[in-house]
Amino acid sequence: MMEKQYTDVLIIGAGPAGLAAATNLFESGFKITILDEFPHPGGRLLGQFHEESDGSWWIGRQVASELVEMTKQPNISLQCGVSVYGLKQISEGWEVLSSVGTIETKYLLLATGAAEIPVPLEGWTLPGVMSIGAAQVLTNVHMVKPGDRGIIVGVNVLGLAISRELAVAGVDLAGIVLSPNNLFSGENANPVEAINLLMSLSHLAPSAWMRLGGSLAQKMKMGKWVSTFFPRQGMNVWDIPLLLKTTISSIQGKKSVESVVLADVNSSGQIIAGSEREEKVDFVALAGGLYPLAELAAVAGCSFLYLPELGGNIPLHNEQMKTPLSNLYVAGNITGVEGAQVAMAQGKLAARSIGNDAGLLKNGREKIAEAMDEVHQVRKTATIQFHPGIIAARKRVYEMYDSLQKESLTS
């Protein structure tokens, strides 16, 4: 068996939250270990870029490089290609079981990010069908196009943001269509709901396509405008046809993807009979949205809350990023789906909480308040927003944490 390793702080996930936490902790002198299953550090930052409102480009890969550069400290060990499969609370912290053996740590930070909600439909197991995140990773991280021509399924923030990235990389896209209307799709298949969600976010995010959506919304009344005014042939957003009246009914192909069957829908998302047609593509990217990747929090024994605004089930935590389990912290998308900048601010906050709990942070309370404030500020000004109810939902999480802590103190 491999020899047990010891560390003071173990961070699982070398994405924006995990890396930011490490870079804000190294001055403590703690021995810090960061683990990530992906072969390269950076997490989702590696594949992300978007245009800011001033026309400049925010490039995640550069941000990741800067963060990784900052982790090059004698007391930080960054290990990629390592899988964690077990967590065990011990008297002095946590025992972490990984593919490189057991690591004992005093403080444990889970910064595992998010995963994608699958979008099942006929033909979706064919090679060439992938999640939109996979298309992003192939294109922007591995720099291999997912195919010669593809289609994006799912009109949502993630789908639109990555569509643009694919277009910038020169990937040929037949269009963006609605999620299939089946048992699994819920409101995603409804054109009015889909556009309403985008509209509700547009005033928060002054980026190019959000502005476009916002100005349309001003011209037309919300709700049924899609069915009345939106052209059936769609309209181009950065030269990608956005087909708000089109859905996908199946994916076809013998050995791998050869085409998709598209159909027109009415304003409630029902297919209009006889409108089916075939579109030749060799890849399909399914954008079902993100959910917090929180299995390890469950393995640790954390209690969970279900909040759709944050992407689903999230481990209970307070605003200082602490879970009810001693010496276990969370940061980034595991606490709710938001952008990378928010994740970084949360990583910094978690680092301060850990430093403070260890008694190593001077003016701890002020520093934590400052970091919490930074999270609020970043959230307010973030270019990409995922859900309009994030702030209220987060407040509910913190209230729940406080009330449960009070309960356990009194009982």
Binding site: E37, F38, P39, F49, W57, I59, R61, G81, S83, A115, E116, P118, T125, L126, P127, G128, V129, M130, S131, G133, A134, V137, L138, T139, N140, H142, M143, V144, K145, P146, G147, D148, V168, A169, G170, K255, S256, L293
Partner: protein, 110 residues
Amino acid sequence: MSKLRIVNHPLIKKGEQKRISFTFNGESLEGLEGEPIAAALLAHGIRILRRHEESGSNRGLYCAIGHCMECRVDVQGKGQVRACLTPIVEGMEVVEGKQLENKITGREAP
């Protein structure tokens, strides 16, 4: 190299990667050092990574971050690995995941 490789991305610049060779189902292929098996294969237009163990249907990469386990392939000396996370190395022998017999239901291997 393959037409699916992105060589001139307007925003993302990647450092030089060494060309190395590996095999897939016995066929010798070229890839870039450090890239995962799935990306190296896709660059050659290869999407079929395994046949479903029961149905034999073709399967490929789905999530690309190691979460969905759809891209399982066999690597000589390593056993079953996820093609989306496992970097190729010089001389690596990769074989697609295969359909298996089912002795309980009596279905034979193809």
